[in-house]
């Protein structure tokens, strides 16, 4: 067998492999782009509900998709992309929130005032609504971490209790009992605050 006969099949193999890898890469990129189109908005809302800052929420979404890009080989193994992505962004925002704990609460409210829809309210009504939201958010922050997390995630109508359980890594019954406790605690806190003022 001549040297050229040995080299040519090897070269063909290299070219075929390169073409195959390139096609696979394109497929992965397309899948990732589709995920961004489909879930970026949901992830943003999850991030915003915890961070209450537009820029921070966008950064969290970006970071979540970067993590997906790093582990794009495992995309085929994921059954429910939505829950998987929410879980990723949830961990990111909790981590960021923990690190930025020193941030004053008034920043959150100011950001919220900027993004809340006016809905035909007068300036006075708007100010009153903002005050109410600020009071509610203050009470939510006082809840224990487990109850608060369930409360925040339950506000997303597109997430069922089973999906919330999957995001938090607990059982569904645990989610329900935590939600029950959270509602009671929140009601107590709000009532206490109202009677104090």
């Amino acid at each position: 067998m001549s040297a050229s006969q040995i080299l040519v099949p090897g070269w063909m193999e290299i070219v075929e492999s390169a073409v195959h890898d390139e096609a696979r890469q394109h497929a992965e990129e397309a899948a990732l782009a589709a995920l961004v189109d489909q879930y970026a908005s949901t992830l943003y809302r999850v991030a915003f509900s915890v961070l209450r800052n537009q820029q921070d929420a966008e950064d969290a979404v970006q970071e979540a998709f970067l993590r997906v890009l790093r582990h794009r080989e495992t995309l085929g193994e994921i059954r429910d992309h939505r829950v998987w992505l929410v879980r990723i962004v949830w961990n990111i925002v909790l981590d960021r929130k923990r690190r930025a704990k020193t941030r004053p609460e008034t920043d959150d409210i100011a950001d919220l005032a900027r993004v809340l829809p006016a809905m035909g309210l007068s300036a006075e009504q708007r100010a009153s609504a903002l005050q109410h939201h600020a009071r509610v958010l203050g009470c939510v922050e006082k809840l224990p971490a487990r109850e608060r997390e369930v409360m925040l995630l339950s506000a997303f109508e597109e997430l069922s209790s089973v999906e919330i359980a999957a995001v938090l890594g607990v059982t569904e019954s645990s989610v329900r009992s935590r939600l029950f406790r959270a509602r009671n605690l929140l009601a107590e806190l709000l009532q206490h605050k109202r009677s104090a003022t």
């Binding site: 090897g10 193999e13 290299i14 492999s17 390169a18 073409v19 890898d21 390139e22 990732l32 782009a33 961004v36 189109d37 970026a40 908005s41 943003y44 809302r45 999850v46 915003f48 509900s49 209450r52 537009q54 929420a57 966008e58 979404v61 970006q62 998709f65 970067l66 890009l69 919220l112 993004v115 809340l116 109410h132 939201h133 509610v136 958010l137 009470c139 939510v140 409360m151 925040l152 339950s154 506000a155 997303f156 109508e157 509602r183 009671n184 929140l186 009601a187 107590e188 709000l190 009532q191 109202r194």
Partner: protein, 172 residues
Amino acid sequence: MNPSTEDRFDRNAGALAAEETLRMIATLPARAGLEDRVKAGLRSSARRGMVISWPFASADGWMHSTGMRTAAAAAIVLAVAGGGWGVYSHIRVAPVPSALVEPQLPNGAGRFSAAGAMHVPQTVEGPVVTAPLTEKQKQRASKVPQSPKHAATSGKGHENAPGSEKQRNVIE
């Protein structure tokens, strides 16, 4: 409506209002163009990742071949090993003596030395032993007339002479 029912109603209303706030926050839309911004960020980070991982990877893809990767890895290993050997071979290690030479201690190993000091015993003026006088010498000494001057000089001059008063005292 009794007070407890009213209280419960208030509590429930408060909780519902709180949940309404959370629900409203959860439905706030993102700024327009979020998807495009995320995609742009992913593209730029992917490009950066490629540059870091291998500069030729995005050019034609030949580096995806296992054989080529192995060859490149082997070349890198050889370069590193060769460099290491080059450095190692240029280092001159000082010769190590086969046996250790220990300094000889003047008073033997493990003892305190006198640091060259010499022991000199204190000496006292010892007794001077003289030969006893003979009879002849005694007679001659008694015959010699002694003038006061001569006696003085002779006494002075033979102060240590054998048989003198001083010498006798010393002997005793």
